[in-house]
């Protein structure tokens, strides 16, 4: 059980003029028992950040506190953490039991105690029948569970997960996601979970940290991140299909973009150059009075439960998500879209940050 505090964390690879800065100062306070997901596109520094918490990467600047201790100079084994790796990193020549027990054996835990702990973890993860097997005799999902078991038996105060689900097939991934959630509820151990998959992030996180290019763009609950994205990056990254972002000129209750002037349900927060964001699922099909846009349909994709309608707006496509039961519009049709004021997001084009 431990809180984690990241203070101005920086990471630079190399030194001198050739050095590359990959983390530009990340601050975060993580409460004891919280499940935090770090999400971002590949190369954004999320894994590096996790590996710095684990102690596998040196920290160039800043401090990491785990349970009130500064751990910057501690070895991974002294930080009271356990990590689940993307490819599980099981010792290939050891049985499942030995894989889970190895850390405890090194820590000189008495054999009887090791046995109790491994048996308990095996029971939670339903590995009881597999304890004598070697990793190569296990399926991907079973290996994944062994990797989690190895983390559990250590009884750490922090769990670190480095994309642990990305090697599983879709069905198993959904199932394991639920298991991880259940496990966290039972054990209540502070967890950091790195992923590039926004579904994993949204479903698992109590709070999520959205990273981009070595910076933390937003740190909040999944609802906050979805409903009030802090920047155009977060707006475009979370949500599928991504939020429509329109560059244009606001003038009172009018917004000029892509050669059209769109009426707004309420005045823009300020006049002049702005970015307007609207999620595909928040444009309602049909007339809504003051803020009704008329757009020309370009392409329609039918997904069963829903349809994605791509409308032409200047040289960009504006995506609208409609119920699959509604009749499909034909390409070339002009359709009315109702827009509600509380669904609009406004961003500053120079900083990409959210305005109010």
């Amino acid at each position: 059980m431990a809180a984690i505090s990241l203070r101005a964390i920086q990471k630079t690879y190399g030194s001198g003029p050739k050095s590359v800065k990959v983390i530009h100062g990340v601050d975060a306070e993580i409460a004891d028992g919280e499940f935090i997901v770090i999400v971002g596109p590949s190369g954004c520094g999320k894994s590096t950040l996790l590996r710095m918490v684990a102690g596998l990467e040196e920290i160039t600047g800043g401090e990491i506190h785990i349970g009130g201790r500064i751990v910057n100079r501690l070895e991974p084994s002294e930080r009271d953490i356990a990590m689940v790796f993307q490819n599980y990193a099981l010792y290939p020549h050891m049985s499942v039991f030995d894989n889970m027990a190895y850390g405890l054996k090194i820590a000189k835990v008495p054999l009887a105690e090791i046995k109790t702990r491994v048996d308990k973890a095996a029971k939670i993860l339903e590995l009881g029948a597999l304890l004598e097997r070697r990793p190569r005799e296990l399926s991907g999902g079973q290996r994944q569970r062994v990797a989690m078991g190895r983390a559990i038996v250590r009884q750490p105060s922090v769990f670190l997960f480095d994309e642990p689900l990305s090697n599983l097939d879709a069905k198993l991934r959904a199932q394991t996601r639920l298991e991880i959630q259940k496990l966290h509820r039972e054990l209540g151990i502070t967890s950091l979970f790195v992923t590039h998959d926004q579904v994993e992030a949204m479903t698992l996180a109590q709070r999520m940290m959205v990273m981009n290019a070595g910076r933390m763009e937003q740190f909040g609950t999944p609802e906050e991140v979805y409903q009030r994205p802090a920047s155009t990056f977060v707006a475009g990254f979370i949500g599928s299909p991504p939020m429509n972002l329109l560059h244009g000129q606001a003038d009172g209750a009018r917004f000029a973009t892509g050669g059209q002037t769109l009426p707004l349900p309420a005045a823009a927060p300020r006049n002049g150059e702005l970015i307007l964001g609207l999620r595909p699922e928040h444009a309602s099909w049909g007339d809504r009075g003051a803020g009704t846009w008329e757009l020309q349909v370009d392409v329609v994709e039918t997904l069963g439960a829903e349809r994605l309608v791509y409308c032409r707006l200047g040289d960009t496509l504006f995506t609208v998500r409609i119920d699959g039961m509604l009749p499909a519009p034909r390409p070339g049709d002009r359709v009315p879209l109702g827009v509600a004021a509380e669904r609009l997001h406004w961003f500053d084009p120079s900083t990409s940050q959210r305005i109010a």
């Binding site: 991974p76 790796f85 190569r136």
Partner: protein, 285 residues
Amino acid sequence: MVENRPAATVLSHLTLILGVMIVAFPVYITFIASTQTAEQIVQQVPMSLLPGNNMLESYKFALFGGVTEYGSRLQPALPMLTVSLISALVIAIGKIAISLLSAFAVVYFRFPGRTLVFWMIFITLMLPVEVRILPTYKVVSDLGMLNTYAGLTVPLIASATATFLFRQFFLTVPDELVEAARIDGAGPMRFFKDVLLPLSKTSIAALFVIQFIYGWNQYLWPLLMTTDESMYPVVMGIKRMISGGDAATEWNAVMATAMLAMIPPALVVLLMQRWFVKGLVDTEK
């Protein structure tokens, strides 16, 4: 190619049988000669290809030595076999131990000049014993290691080939395994002992076979640095048993010694082969 044509089967069998005969026939001759008496070998021309009845005596004579009919003494092969066995084992085990450790250092530790060290080891691949034999002899004799086991083995222990092989193997071990071990609290040597060694079992077995035979077949180096008969390895001893000039050669004893000298390497290959195949069948990666 899986085909079912009788003619092809016959042909491939014939080729194989011919190959085996070319390899095995000299060994057979050696064996036959070792079962005859020295007189039979010299007097019957061509030599009989059927086993004689002197086998026990030939081998006893070869193993324990004795006085020939012409009054000269024959060196016993048993001490020579012991010398060979000890040096081959020390060379094989020493080579494997040193190479494992140096490959471990080169792959897993960051120290100044790491690449340089690796390339220096690599370059010594181009310097077999024969090339560096004089300087090596000088060093060994200055250290007073002539006619000792240390002198027979130490200069042959450093092995670039094995180091290189283990390095390549270690590079294929995933980094996550190292990291998992670090999180589990295993120090470097613990990781080496608990993870790397068990994973290298197959390569160790393969190298042991190769290096044992290499050590066993050393001829030039022992020839140069042993002057004491009690330190002669068997490969060299065989050559010395063939006397030049007027003295008669006890061919039956020579052949018996040759047969005896063949046994340990053959045994190593036969025994280790099972390991080898087992290692190849259940790859643990």
